[in-house]
């Protein structure tokens, strides 16, 4: 006599694993607009503080513009990372994600995508306004936006691994910064480098291509790493 059949539900579209969490987290982000606005406001305020600390001299401001915008974008993304898994961890949803018939890496990928749409994209869209304050030209602003659009998803993806590792750990957010910030250095270098190259009149494509390469590499590797981290943290 055979065992009771263990039914494998038809997962006809595996990408629907991505879709489920993408839709869900995006809906959540829209319902809690406040948090979305907070990260953006943080970004704008911190960037605007630099001229106050350094002085209004146009040449200096233009010189530091790329670095300031990128470091602030990095910090703004980092501050939003707990949103990725924290509430799901606390309310038990994360266990359901891990136990879902859909592959956990795909569910994580959907969450990352939703996180990027609600942080990286708005940051990239406001950045030109801030760049104007620092005296950047239109072509330089374009490179900055392109760099942020390519680089912020990498920040989200690497950050997701850190965010998952520190779930439920005391001192979580500072610890996460310690784990994640060193890994962010290449993105910072290539992102800010792209803007500086275009300021110097050099082609920024090299920097942007390197960011794109990191994005592609991250896309195929980080969902698995994040899923592993989630499983580790649930144990």
């Amino acid at each position: 006599m055979s065992a009771v059949p263990v039914n494998q539900p038809a997962l006809s579209t595996p990408e629907s694993g991505v879709w489920i969490t993408l839709v869900r987290d995006t809906k959540l982000a829209i319902r809690s607009k406040g948090e979305l606005a907070q990260a953006l406001a943080f970004f704008i305020i911190v960037v605007s503080l630099f001229p106050l600390a350094i002085g209004p001299e146009a040449a200096i401001l233009k010189r530091i513009a790329a670095g300031v915008v990128w470091v602030c974008a990095l910090l703004a993304v980092m501050l939003t990372l707990p949103r990725l898994f924290q509430s799901d961890y606390l309310d038990g949803t994360l266990e359901q994600l891990a136990l879902s018939p859909y592959p956990l890496p795909l569910l994580c990928a959907g969450k990352m995508l939703a996180h990027w749409l609600s942080t990286g994209v708005p940051l990239a869209l406001v950045a030109p306004v801030l760049g104007l304050q620092f005296g950047l030209e239109a072509s330089e602003l374009l490179v900055m936006v392109a760099g942020l659009l390519l680089g912020t998803p990498v920040l989200t993806m690497l950050g997701a691994i850190g965010a998952a590792l520190v779930l439920g750990v005391r001192g979580g957010s500072i610890l996460m910064a310690l784990l994640v910030l060193p890994l962010y250095t290449p993105v910072l270098i290539f992102g800010a480098g792209a803007v500086e190259a275009s300021i110097a009149g050099i082609d920024a494509m090299a920097n942007l291509s390197l960011l794109a390469a990191m994005l592609l590499f991250g896309l195929v590797t980080t969902p698995f790493a994040a899923a592993t981290a989630v499983k580790i943290s649930l144990d």
């Binding site: 055979s2 059949p5 509430s87 144990d235």
Partner: protein
């Protein structure tokens, strides 16, 4: 008779405390196991080991007469874990939360079936209320609706339920018992951790966990 869910020689320690050791049991279709014991004795840990969320120090979990790796795809499609936490989003309505949970379970229940289930658990009138505004018992009832739509051997044969009747009133508890009995009657199995009395009838075993030192 073949067991749908089996634990073989399971051992787990947390810190210096040995929660269980050499624990074995088997549940054939239609059987339930009720875990009893004081707080901190390892009921939740045992459920998590069976679900594959926690790695046992030793031992095996068999689902559908096959040894399953923790969180393997066959385990994930057979097991329904109903945890201590409700896994609900405060920002979503009751209906949205139910739909999301079923989507994650890859449960094909249609919109009408979901509406029926909400009627069964008595949330039909409040289905468009934001979950934050629902009482603890009503939140638990969203979970009951999910169970109602997952019963039987075909969809999710193995139910692992952690204090399912917490916060439920007597009507709610009776409803829970009714849903579990229907699940068992259709060939499913259930492991239920609870410290509350439970009027479950049928092929029900109790496991009193005492905890080792």
């Amino acid at each position: 008779m073949t067991a749908v869910l089996e634990g073989r020689e399971l051992c787990l320690a947390r810190g210096s405390k040995q929660l269980f050791s050499g624990l074995s049991f088997g549940l054939a279709g239609g059987h339930a196991l009720v875990l009893r014991g004081a707080n901190g004795v390892g009921k939740t840990s045992l459920l998590r080991v069976l679900a594959g969320l926690t790695e046992a120090d030793a031992g095996e979990v068999w689902v559908g007469a096959k040894r399953t790796q923790a969180l393997s795809s066959s385990a994930r499609s057979a097991i329904l874990y109903f945890g201590h936490a409700n896994a609900l989003k405060d920002e979503f309505t009751a209906a949205e939360n139910l739909a999301d949970q079923l989507a994650l379970d890859a449960n094909p229940a249609s919109a009408e079936q979901q509406a029926d289930a909400l009627t069964v658990v008595g949330l039909m009138e409040r289905r468009h209320v934001i979950t934050r505004r629902l009482s603890q018992g009503q939140k638990r009832r969203i979970g009951l609706a999910r169970l109602h739509l997952s019963r039987g051997a075909l969809h999710k044969p193995v139910w692992l339920l952690d204090e399912p009747t917490n916060a439920l009133d007597s009507d709610g508890s009776a409803l829970f018992v009714h849903i579990v009995e229907a699940h068992l009657a259709e060939g499913g199995v259930a492991v239920i951790a609870t410290h509350l009395p439970m009027a479950l009838t049928g092929k029900v075993d109790e496991l009193h966990m005492r905890g080792l030192v």
